[in-house]
């Protein structure tokens, strides 16, 4: 018989207490125990990038992380990206340029882009391609995603949070 353990996670700036099986991944805990289904899954074994969240601002695959190792770290999910009802410039650019088709890979890609722009406010196309190298998208052929990131980079300076 498995038993649950209590974890204290800092998610999108809120301290959340959650009881979960210690074998549950951060991905499962976010989606199923914390009511944050915006983080998606495409493989659950670290191969597709869909479940990317930010850990202290750095992209990380939530399907490979266990909550036990994350206490005290800032976890950012797609739900924490917009400033209240105001879309992040990246989100607005993705919406305006049709960079989200089915949209399933987009939360992960937006967070990678957020982290990229925090580090390189005006990335080259090659830097964007490389940053997204671990995030598969099957709809767009990536080009509109590249363009949306470039537009966001040109429109608004990115603030490190």
């Amino acid at each position: 018989m498995r038993t649950k353990e209590l974890f204290r996670l800092l998610v999108n700036g809120e301290l959340r207490e959650v009881a979960a099986y210690p074998s549950r991944t951060l991905l499962e805990v976010l989606r199923e125990d914390l009511g944050l289904p915006g983080t998606k899954h495409g493989c659950e074994v670290g191969e597709c990038g869909t479940c990317t969240v930010l850990l202290d601002g750095q992209p990380a695959l939530s399907c490979l992380l266990l909550p036990a190792e994350l206490e005290g770290q800032h976890i950012t999910t797609i739900e924490g990206m917009a400033q209240g009802p105001e879309l992040d410039p990246l989100q607005a650019a993705f919406a305006d340029l049709g960079a989200a088709q089915c949209g399933y890979c987009i939360p992960g890609i937006l967070l990678v882009a957020k982290s990229l722009l925090a580090e390189h406010p005006h990335p080259s196309r090659a830097q964007i391609e490389e940053a997204l190298g671990g995030n598969l998208c099957r709809c767009t052929g990536y080009l509109k995603i590249f363009e949306a990131i470039e537009r966001a980079a040109n429109e608004e300076p990115q603030h490190v949070r």
Partner: protein, 805 residues
Amino acid sequence: MSDEKLNVIGKPLRKVDAAAKVTGRTIFADDLVLPQMLYAKILRSTRPYARIVSINTTDAETMDGVKAILLGKELPITFGILPVSQDEHTLAIDTVRYVGEPVVAVAAVDEETAEDAVRRIHIEYEDLRPVMSITDGVHPTDIPIQGYAEQGNIHKTISFEFGDTRSALDDADLVLDDTFFYQGNTHLPMEQHAAVASYQPDGKLVLWSATQTPHYVHRALARVLEMDASRIQVIACPNGGGFGGKSDPFSHEIAVAKLSMKIGRPVKIALTREEVFYCHRGRHPVLMHSRLGLSKDGTIKGLHFNTILDGGAYGSYGVASTYYTGALQTTTYHIPAYKFEGARVFTNKPPCGPKRGHGTPQPRFGLEIQIDKAAELLDVDPADLRLKNLVQHDSLTANWLTIRTIGLRKCIEKVVEASGWKSKYRKLPYGRGIGLACGCYLTGAGLPIYWNNMPQSGVQIKLDRSGLVTIFCGSTDIGQGSDSILAYIVGEILGVDPLRIRVVTADTDLTPVDLGSYSSRVTLMTGNAAVQAAERAREYLTDAVAAELKIPKERIVAAGGRMFDSQDPGHAVDFAKAVQLAEAKFGTIGTVGSYKPPQSAAKYKGGGVGPSPTYSFSAAVIELEVDPDTGILRLEKVWIAHDIGRALNPMLVIGQVEGSVYMGLGEALMEEQEFRLGVHKTPSMLDYKSPTSMDMCPIETLLVEEPDPMGPFGAKEVGQGPLLPMPPAVCNAVYDAVGVRIDEIPVTPEKILRALKAKSQGKDGRYGPKSFPAIEYRDPVFILPPWEGGDGRASSQPEYTRKGL
């Protein structure tokens, strides 16, 4: 309607769901959580072909938290997407036919418990010899994979002859005789399939699913569960990508429905990525043999085209796929005499079905390479050879398909111009090459999957006195933007902001039937239905507003959220007021529209696959580099022109073109589904290679817009067609670069190196299949082409076929 008057159509607007998609708010099937919900897991076959001797569930049954176990024998009725191949059981009963086939389903309090329970179920198998290839599949067998196959493991054969193909080839100055192989590959949508079923105390069943075809799932559930369809509600959640992979009714959907009925609580299932590979229904591997005859001046005289499809273990869409490997060979270049023979074999692999382009990228691959070879032999530019043979506007093909508008000439001219083709073809330095290919695709299959005379698409519009417009339609948004297209069209006609329209789709209780998101049918069919419903609604509004403004109806214009006098735009009411006036005058305002494709000119049996209201056309040029020492290929750029009729939203159209190009390049360069000892070699996203952001090259998209009278505002399809030129264009460019022919995909460095080595040894500089198995096709059905006095029906056996028999 002239362009100047359009306020919404043709504008690069956001999609209606864009904000939800970029904020993670879109609710996909696996995001649903219902009170008391249980979780299901499926135990799948570990054997490619075996009889089930026994299934022992004792250990699992006694586990805490296990609520129900479902066995195949509880659901003895078979299902399948096509009426002719109702060959699937929800769970295998006595035989398993591929590794990954569902055998037992378990529902438990959580996913972990369901997983544990599945591990404690023991199945004893008696192995049978699996059939894993086309060459094996065409051999006679004592234990056919499916008992209903035509002969042995040959599921189905097709043979058509449109005109005297033998004489055409005999009389041709040049006959090319080639074999090609197009490897199988899979859709790999980012979203894994998921479904939630809720059987309710009043005896009603609700299923939410990641499906492209809720209507067909609805029908399959009613059939297998033996329930009145009116007691079943199927809701398709927005799909996280489909590409054809979510177009069949699936075992897991029926299993959770049955489990929910057994337990009386909601049950969810979310497949793992490995399971998605086993659901498959992807691109059929196809072996092809093509004989193309031309005269010295480059005029095509005849084509004899043979295909054998590796179907996997079940029918799925396979019969239609087989027809499609012959149906659209005639739609780009005029082929005066055409013979097509196709066959599909059953093998012990996950079933193949429809993937983007459904059955047409494979034969297009062969044809476009063969045209390139012909141009070389005739010493003409392959672009000119294509232009010389183009099918004409408003014409019939040899197999009686009606071509209405065809913008292929412009497409070819545009990519030739943009790519600098004339200065590059056969002129680039060794190692660098350029290749051209074209394609054509349906804008919606002409016939529904099951025979009926009803509309294929329906739309209802409800106008609220607040000014809110709500559109109801059975169509399913799989990321292509079908919800948005409805809003754009209705917004244009009613003069309201499309992003303020409420769109309710893909719910069999609430929305009129649309057959589903397949065959590139949605924009044309739902669009035409939406035009009809919106024009009817505008009629009510115009009538009431004209009375209010005391002007003739003809002067009323609907635009910008107002209805006004065209001669005095200030004389107006806002849209909400217009609805109120209409409601006061006519009562509650709701309208409907529906669409059914026109009757096809093809009246022969089997002529139901291929007809479409209209066809899209594409031409592409690819420039690339091949390192002759390593065989490694690097894409430089893709230029693609697409005949869209009219772009309802050019931004979304270009997105579809880019996505199709990407997927076609993946198939051309790396994606392949291979098996070893009956087992899928790469059932994971790491091992199944698909292009990443690092693999893409620039794509220049050029749209050709000549509004087609069949499409809403003139629109044709774009979701599938632009994929087709990619694989042959890559192969043609490789030949231009290093002088070797790769007659199969994917084009890997190994294949290029082998061909280069063969060439350096003075052998044929080619990599590809060397032979085509002898196969007994059925006796041909003879249909005279339109130019030989045919009427679209099968004829008696013509005299010429008796020669030498």
